[in-house]
């Protein structure tokens, strides 16, 4: 067992997969000479050369689409998009092409590619650089969307994404890159796509999150345990397919739930979770499902405004307390 960062876990996995399979190659802006905007691909150009680690021009539609075309011929491109905000330039190739080609042509060609990209606010990057729009991709049949929250998950899920024959949007998070966690040495586990995980068992309330918010949920659960509140944490891990069974099973046990999401509330991922819970655990619910999400504004630059707009551990704790109060079972 080693304790490594989320960033290191991604880099180690990319390197190992490139050694394992000649068809795996990387492309994206600034991933080679510059070694990645967030240094995920550090050292890889030196190790593998330009054929396998390809710097692209600033042409998201062009190079994401080129990855789709290369995947149609059997290569396994792993694209890095600097941040998920820039995926909007490539959205035609992702949604109208990558996600459609397998079905639209009657299953004649698959598109085995991965798009790695970080979401995340909280870096004072302002409105265009702080969005969490994974929902757009999670909405689309034909895509798979993964959102790991720990280094070990980042590794096993990236392995799964690369070895999968479908296009996978692999959501990272600026706020997670420096977080650390245990990863087994020489690990080669391949996560199962489409499965959520109960990362902490509890009996009073279910806290549901993904990516950075799954990590925050775990921290909050730890804190609330000191107050004697037993929180069960569900890490969604896979946004498409969505593992509703695991969510509902947990809520049937605890009787109430709070969803923690880093996106906007209206029509957001939490809305889908809440709808699923009301359909699958209606008779078990003791309180309305609460959603903790970003304030619905273009993200401001100024620190106090930005901080106020983002879901925080405190906002989660408040939502848990209020939900439990609604249940009437416990007063926080």
């Amino acid at each position: 067992m080693s304790v490594i960062t989320y960033r290191q876990a991604l880099r180690d996995t990319l390197r190992a997969e490139m050694h394992r399979d000649e068809n795996v190659f990387l492309l994206g802006e600034e991933i080679g000479v510059f070694e990645g905007s967030y240094k995920i691909t550090e050292g890889l150009l030196k190790e593998f050369g330009e054929r396998r680690v390809r710097d692209t021009p600033i042409a998201e539609e062009g190079f994401v689409g080129a990855a789709v075309g290369a995947a149609m011929l059997g290569l396994r491109p792993v694209v890095e998009l600097m941040t998920i905000n820039f995926s909007l330039i490539a959205i035609d190739q992702i949604i109208n092409h990558a996600a459609k080609i397998y079905g639209m042509f009657g299953g004649q060609t698959s598109v085995p590619m991965v798009i790695r990209t970080p979401g995340g606010g909280g870096q004072q990057l302002g409105a265009t650089h702080s969005q969490n729009i994974e929902l757009f991709y999670s909405f689309i049949p034909g895509l798979k969307v993964l959102a790991p929250s720990t280094p070990a998950e980042a590794a096993s899920m990236l392995r799964a994404a690369i070895r999968d024959d479908d296009p996978v949007l692999f959501l990272e998070n600026l706020g997670l890159y420096n977080t650390k966690g245990e990863v087994p040495d020489g690990d080669d586990t391949v996560a199962e796509i489409g499965r959520a995980a109960v990362t902490r068992e509890g009996t009073d309330i279910t806290l549901i999150g993904y990516s950075r918010m799954a990590m925050v949920a775990s921290q909050v659960a730890e804190k609330l345990a000191e107050e004697g509140i037993s929180v069960e944490v569900v890490d969604l891990r896979s946004l498409r397919p969505l593992d509703r069974e695991t969510i509902v099973e947990s809520v049937r046990k605890t009787g109430c739930a709070v969803v923690a999401e880093d996106d906007w509330l209206t029509y957001g991922i939490g809305a889908e979770i809440a709808a699923s819970i009301q359909e699958g655990a209606f008779d078990w619910l003791d309180a309305p499902v609460r959603r903790v999400a970003m304030a619905e504004v273009p993200m401001p630059y100024a620190k106090p405004l930005e901080t106020a707009a983002l879901p925080s551990p405190e906002s989660l704790i408040t939502a848990v307390h209020e939900t439990l109060r609604a249940v009437g079972r416990r007063v926080g």
Binding site: P57, E61, G65, A70, M72, Q108, E192, E279
Partner: protein, 367 residues
Amino acid sequence: MADTAKPKGGGTARSTGGRRRSRKDAAPSIADEQPKTLLEYYRQMLLIRRFEERTAQAYTQARIGGYCHLNLGEEATIVGLMTALQERDYLFTNYREHGYAIGKGIHPRRVMAELYGRSTGVSKGWGGSMHMFDTETRMLGGYGIVGGQLPLATGAALAVSYRGGDEVVMCQMGDGTTNIGAWHESLNIASLWNLPVVFVVINNYTGMGTTVEKSSAEPELYKRGSAFRIEGVRVDGQDVLAVRDAATDLVERARSEQRPFLLEAMSHRMKGHSVVDPAKYRTPEQVEEAKANDPVASFESQLLEAGVLTEELKQEIADSVRDEVTDAADFAENSPHPDVATLFDYTYATPVANESRRMPADPVFAD
């Protein structure tokens, strides 16, 4: 301008200038061709013509749904282009691709069955008119989003180059497509990375009802490759031999020199944008011009004049083409519709946990 000093043969080559093989210096003449070859081109052009006429008829009879864009007027271009490709070469096209599918070697039965939405269709009834795809003949798709095929074709060429293969990718599109971002991004990438792809612009003077002059600041489209140091050539798309020669030249150069090229074929759209478009925006002169430039009729009279085609032979070919199209339509008509039980067969290539297989009225949780 000589192109020797530039790393990638920069600048624009005109059809009359730059470096040409000797046989390209003069317009190709039917006198230099084998009669058998000419008759084969004629037959293929006529097949596409009759196939598309039958398609229009079936569409009007509501046997075909959706949008339906025809290749009427594009027959010489298609046959010339497809002749230039080797079997191992890949083809990407836009949505106006029935003729290309046939030209690349897909049986007309399977193309018609796709139009009818049958499970025997080339895309098993999942694609329709705009989305013909066949792994075997390497027709890697008709695409309905304008410009969508350009990044894909570029990526296919990247895969060829990555593996050191010697296949070439041809990427067909319309004139209007040279204005979308994907055009600029793809030509730039293809040139930067020295990819073996030939971009082919079918210039039929219009995208839907908008003329080239109204949509392209540089209306001589073959010149637009120069921004990327991609050599561009313009060819008369009504002349099957000229298209074949120009395309063969560029395809073989893309193969041997490992770099992209641009070919602009001047063509005519004989009918509306799609079957339902009466094309009222066209002046009577434009309609006349398109009619006067009917590539099938003019090739036919050339062949008759040269004695390659006789009235007897013409009738024979017409009959055999008619039979082939009738056979395709009968095959489509008698083919089964896809079974609704297959609805969830093609969402994912790798089966995945918790994939939704819910029908519209089903509850999310079955129990």
